[in-house]
Subunit: 435 residues, 2 copies
């Protein structure tokens, strides 16, 4: 169902590679029908006319259809398609992260009630088999943390800002020209798409149903190129990180631009690629890298789901695993005041005697410990004293609310600009290996 970028690629794989698949698996899969709103979209993708249908009920009634692939996108109609397909006793494969993030528990339950399974490898990380890692390859682990670069559009924009010194809007323009960003790029650049994906991955990893509202989300759309450049100077690379970490106190999920050390593997992920770091108590650090979007890579994951439903391995997993969102308790969050992280701060201040002392006094008052300070030399001429200059501070680990309160107070001081930047620094996650 659906013949857009991913649908067309999946249809072509199904049509062209049947003989190859037969040499690789005894499950013989073929394309039975393509449901679209306009016949042209399927014809353009090379789907033979006799396979095209305009009515999805054709599929539900067809006893030869064992698996329905929902690639329509959006949440309303797609939700109806999935629900009715499951109720008709069809397994469902979907790439629909928004729908899963919003209505996961209900959809999983519907599948379970009808004795079929719901597969969604293509919903996170495009062609990267990350859902399989979380539900199968790493199941012996207590997952401590996931840090993902899971939005290729944002990562492409950031890479241009870092490597070619572009501003956010220049880089967005280039992404749009290259077909990597849509005309309305909001869902990608404001972090929503990443939030959908970390909700799905965090739920599976922790065996907790994560609600989207539990994830504070900040995108790259308000990022200043000055901060990108100062970070680089200090050895950090800015990335849009979707993270889910867990301690004995609970879980902590976030989407935000963050600085990571340039030696960490995630710092190397450039352009439209995605990567997801997963830390388990037995395996330590693992990372999964690949193309996180695009028709052909995403269709690779769609086909993998179809094949493992057909050969029976996914249905067996689906019925025995207990970490699906419909079987899991709601996520218990770590109290916000127990989350301590390092931060990068940029203030604008006039180059006058005593200003820096004012800043450090307020930080001390809030018991915030400074790790490093960076202020570039300015020419010692009278007029330069009134031009605001950037002051960059990195802090030791501190609670976010306390730091925000201190910064609000600092920016009310005389000769200090009212706006500031505050970006978390994610240090290398420890590998809690037991032995």
């Amino acid at each position: 169902m659906g013949c857009g970028t991913v649908g067309a690629s999946a249809a072509r794989l199904l049509l062209n590679d049947r003989e190859t698949r037969r040499t690789r698996s005894s499950a013989d899969i073929y394309l039975r029908k393509v449901v679209v709103r306009r016949r042209e979209s399927a014809l353009d993708a090379g789907v033979p006319s006799e396979l095209i249908s305009l009515d999805y009920r054709d599929i539900l009634r067809d006893e030869d259809v064992g698996i329905v692939v929902e690639l329509v996108g959006g949440t309303d109609f797609a939700g109806t398609l999935i629900r009715e397909s499951l109720q008709a006793g069809k397994h469902v494969v979907t790439a629909n992260k928004a729908l899963l993030a919003h209505e996961g528990p209900e959809l999983f339950q519907t599948a379970r009630k009808n004795g079929v399974s719901l597969a969604f490898e293509s919903s996170c990380g495009g062609g990267i088999p990350i859902i399989r890692a979380l539900t199968d390859g790493l199941t012996a682990n207590n997952i401590d943390a996931i840090y993902g670069i899971v939005n290729g559009t944002s990562n492409f924009i950031l890479t241009e800002m870092i490597e070619n010194g572009m501003s956010y809007s220049e880089a967005l323009g280039l992404a749009q020209e290259s077909g990597l960003a849509e005309a309305d790029p909001s869902l990608d650049v404001n972090g929503s798409d990443s939030a959908h994906k970390i909700a799905i991955m965090g739920s599976l990893a922790f065996g907790e149903a994560v609600a989207l509202e539990q994830i504070p989300v900040k995108g790259i759309d308000t990022l200043q190129s000055e901060d990108v450049a100062f970070g680089s100077e200090m050895g950090y690379v800015i990335k849009l990180i979707a993270s889910a970490t867990r301690s004995s106190e609970g879980s902590f999920l976030r989407v935000e631009p963050a600085f990571i050390n340039r030696d960490h593997p995630l710092a190397w992920i450039s352009g439209a690629f995605n990567a997801i770091s997963v830390y388990g108590h037995s395996v330590g650090h693992t990372m999964y890298y690949g193309r996180g979007a695009g028709g052909s890579p995403t269709a690779s994951a769609v086909l993998a789901d179809i094949l493992s439903i057909a050969n029976g391995s996914y249905p067996a997993l689906f019925s025995s695993l207990l970490t699906w969102p419909d079987l899991s308790p709601g996520a218990r969050l770590t109290p916000a005041d127990h989350i301590l992280r390092r931060y990068y701060i940029r203030l604008q201040l006039e180059d006058r005697a005593g200003i820096l002392a004012g800043v450090t006094r307020v930080l001390a008052e809030y018991d915030i410990s400074v790790s490093s300070v960076l202020q570039h030399e300015v020419p010692d001429v009278p007029e330069s004293h009134e031009t605001p200059v950037p002051l960059v501070i990195t802090t030791h680990r501190v609670e976010e609310a306390k730091l925000t309160a201190a910064l609000e107070k600092i920016t009310r001081l005389d000769h200090i600009g009212g706006r500031y930047s505050m970006i978390p620094i994610l240090d290398e996650h420890p590998e809690f290996q037991v032995w």
Copy 2:
């Protein structure tokens, strides 16, 4: 069976995490018995005395044992254990890459005849779920290539040579002190261990039974630190690469130290970590990263296999997939003279007029095209003319045998040292995306 480093970690995971596992899967797994040669090794690992047995036949006779885990290592006794376990109707999990590389087809067939399955995630890449990627996550793809850094000991040694300018023997000494290399490190540093792993991965990826004899193997034990340094100067990083590539003409498998561009993700893998790049026709480039050895990471993969056998997903895959080595034809190799690659060459020559001309004349005679030449300036004093200086050349794509013949001829010329270095340069593999 077996309670060495990996066996002890697997036993501890099985003993300690049973309650956690019950919250994650309806398959309730527990440790029934540990078979060892000496009781002490199991007692030291914390295995309760009543679970220890000195006779593996105890396990074969025990109807409550559904899965046998072979972590004895070696090929003779381990082969007997696996064969008899399969014949007794037990599923088998093994980390034994040497055995699988040597006797894979026979062992898979024995499993099939007895209606059980043989799982081996832990045989390649430690805790990285790479076997699952090849047999499940990427099954919709025709795999074009695999490039793996799959020996942590070698990668640790190379990292020390690159980053700290150590010689091979200094770095090996450090690896031995750190417990990363055994007293006899041969299998690791001579490339055999990597060859076992690429034989397994290549077989699965291509659906061809690869015989070890089909893989030319060169280790890092003859690597010169001068070549590591010259490579760095030219933007390359030396890695021990196990590769399997395929074209319409056949397959090409190799283990060898090779230069890769410092921008390629594999160049970033440092220390004891492993990574495997896999290129598929639909998914493009994907990479899998993690700890490739050690008890705890490897035990993570052992437990994953146990769990997916218990929940039924692996047996379903095992019986439907057709790319297991016992069901596959033998690998058809690309004719050697059709393999064209770029090479790095280092010669030693005296700094005299006409010597370079002699070198380039022979290369021209063999129709070998030079891509770049690097010779550092030497002081213009008479005695320096007789001290051999290194001349580094990189070639355009050329057949290996032809280049070797040219180099043999060059090193017979006057005033040129008889020894030379010749290291392939692996360029970024193209992503053959269909759409």
